[in-house]
Amino acid sequence: MQVVQTDIVVVGGGGAGLRAAIAAAERDSKLRVALVSKVVPMRSHTVAAEGGAAGVTREADSLEQHFLDTVSGGDWLCDQDVVEYFVAHCTEELVRLEHWGCPWSRLPNGHVNTRFFGGMSVQRTWFAADRSGFHILHTLFQTSLKYPSIKRYDEFFCAELLVDDGRVRGIVAIEIATGNLFVFEAKAVVLATGGAGRVYRQNTNAGTVTGDGMGLAFRAGAPLRDMEFMQWHPTCLPGTGILMTEACRGEGAILVNKDGYRYLQDYGLGPVDPWPRAKAMELGPRDRLSQAFCHEQRKGRTLDTPQGPAVHLDLRHLGAKKIHERLPLITEAAKTFAGVDAVKEPIPVCPAVHYTMGGIFTNVRCETPIAGLYAAGECASVGIHGANRLGSNSLVEIVVFGKVAGDAAAGYALSGSFQKGPPNVAEEGLTSLLSNDKGERLAVLRDEMRDTMEENVGIYRDEPGLRAACAKLATLRERYRRGVRLDDRSRAFNTEWLTALELGFALEVAEAMAHGALARRESRGAHMRLDFEARNDDAFLKHTLARHAGHAAPRIEHQPVTITRSRPRERHYGGEGKKATLT
């Protein structure tokens, strides 16, 4: 085993990880920052985000409104102190990205332009055409090249967190190209490993989004919070799950069922006119839109495509010019992956798993309960998304809290309060997978997990289904422990081995989701229980905490939500929304 000594390890080269590394490097250039990522940073999933990032700039807008939209969007499960910090720092981070070169789309006068997004009451979303995540990620990556104290370990797979005595000591990582194990001894570790959407079958996420960081922290003793809240994006291509960004609707696209009827009006999102209207109809929040789809499907009003049921996303009335100018990537993707010319035909779409609201529990300083361990980005649950994330809040979350995490980790590493001496490392477990002669095929276990989640921990849930899912996941974990048999037993670039390790994390993360969902006997935000249709603030205005319990099922606890200014109300969409002017 090779040993790398460093001050801070950042695991993850997505938006959150890069921002954290830059923040740490800017805090003190003498700190050695190791940026460890299983893919070269610009391949991270942030690259695929299309729509944009929210930050208050318009005169008609206010931090208060962004706060309220976020808290009500999250169905009051947000920690309001954290949301206050968040909305106050969004714009400054977006401006910083602008200074670093991010090509935000502009108004003719040279100022940054903003667009509507679902659940946002004003045009607040900064965008770079429909390649917002791509440009943010490349801007951050290229900017990170400026700091000599950031040392990159590209294509290193973090397989274990080293924790002694409640303090983080470093990580163990596999150098993918050679299969060699590396120990990174560090004073502080930032996890920025992204979400866990790949525990489901049909999703918008990249292949790397397997919940590794959540699994790492979970096993090391940090609780996962609110894992039952999974966001379905209402407009994805059936089959592949490739996303047709919400920005389509932000620009004025409409959703119709097989009869050409704008069905959202039947689900409390109307009235249809005047259109467009903020937070109404197609600009309603994602959970409501995905749920409406399920109802339409049940009523038999969806279209049948070879890849499954779908409705139509219609852009045609926007006209060729606007479509090509504002939504070039989507037009291209619709053409390539669905064979549809968005200018001439509507695009068939359906909901697919999109975003993991829950994650590693942290406070507003991105601290986990393990000293020296920080988490930021989609892998973390810092408390801003609650029961449902608003579109365009997460691209800005990754920079706001990426910075916080990097700063905090640097402060900790400089403070001297970390533990000294080499950590204890046990190699067993990681390489044992390579020597199994008996066992099941990896893809079999993986597919069974995905199908279980899709079927029983879907948009609508009920007790029997969730119980079945919990039982199934327990047996899958058991079968995984008994052994998977790999075709590939070699060390160099063994992606099958890595996939097996990922599956290990994913199974445990999926279990936290299913058990959290089972325990939450109410409907809130993205968590819809057929057997408990109403929100129940008396019993469940609480975060769910899942604690790892070895080979047994996770222990579920609940934790109070911080409320500062906004008492829970009904969530209002549709008619209550104001008329919006599109520019």
Binding site: H45, N109, D154, G239, A492
Partner: protein, 239 residues
């Protein structure tokens, strides 16, 4: 369902002295990409087949390979268009092979760093910079590069001399030089002006032909030949 033969170049550094081809019959539907074909092989036929992928929507730049001799993103190349096959998949040309289809990207990453692909500001403004859509248009096209390296696999000059900075890195260099917010052109011209900067290019032009994002790196490189020439002759007049 139709079946198509996929033949892949394979190389394992621990056991192979040189690469060899292996082929598999793969059942496919009309909406299956070459990447999905490879995934099918990995899941069901041979778990040791090694290739990179991530977004599967042509934006992360991971999945480039030679498909029937042409550099392509495998996630947006469809088996239906290659029917009846066989389809021949090789790692991107001109790069060292680490294993099977995975090539060593370290050289490019070093080059990217060498062109200083970040804003080198004059002075930071209050609030955002003003930049009109016209000013943005001057560099935007070059900022669309996804670092997929297809252009390097297309460029024989890079294959013949791997010190050549190459199309994508030079396109990104140009992207920052052309950005109204940047003041670092003089520093970057040092890279442009070397023998292995723009002068490594003989305008083969295939780089732009294969670029999946319309970046047109050949244009960035060759416009900088003029820039470099101006820089060469006018440096005596500048202070």
């Amino acid at each position: 369902m139709n079946t198509i033969t996929i033949e892949c170049l394979r190389y394992h550094p621990e056991s192979d002295a040189e690469p060899r081809f292996q082929s598999w019959p793969v059942p496919f539907t009309d909406d299956m990409s070459v990447l999905q074909g490879l995934q099918y092989i990995k899941d069901h036929l041979d778990g040791s087949l090694t290739f990179r992928w991530s977004c599967r929507m042509a934006i992360c730049g991971s999945c480039g390979a030679m498909v029937n001799g042409v550099p392509r993103l495998t996630c947006e190349t469809f088996l239906r268009d290659l029917y009846p096959g066989p389809v021949r998949i090789e790692p991107l040309n001109h790069f060292p092979i680490v294993r099977d289809l995975a090539i060593d990207q370290a050289d490019f990453l070093g080059k990217l760093q060498s062109v200083k692909p970040y804003i080198i500001p004059d002075a930071e403004p209050q609030g955002t910079y003003l930049q009109t859509p016209e000013q943005m248009e001057r560099y935007y096209q070059y900022s669309k590069c996804i670092n997929c390296l297809l252009c390097y696999a297309a460029c024989p000059q890079y294959g013949l001399n791997d010190r050549f900075t190459g199309p994508a890195a030079l396109a990104l260099l140009h992207r920052y030089n052309a950005d109204s917010r940047d003041a670092g052109k003089a520093e970057r011209m040092e890279v442009v002006n070397t023998e292995d900067g723009v002068w490594g290019c003989t305008l083969v032009g295939y780089c732009s032909e294969v670029c999946p994002k319309g970046v047109d790196p050949a244009r960035a490189v060759n416009q900088n030949k003029i820039e470099s020439t101006k820089d060469y002759f006018f440096r005596f007049f500048r202070k």
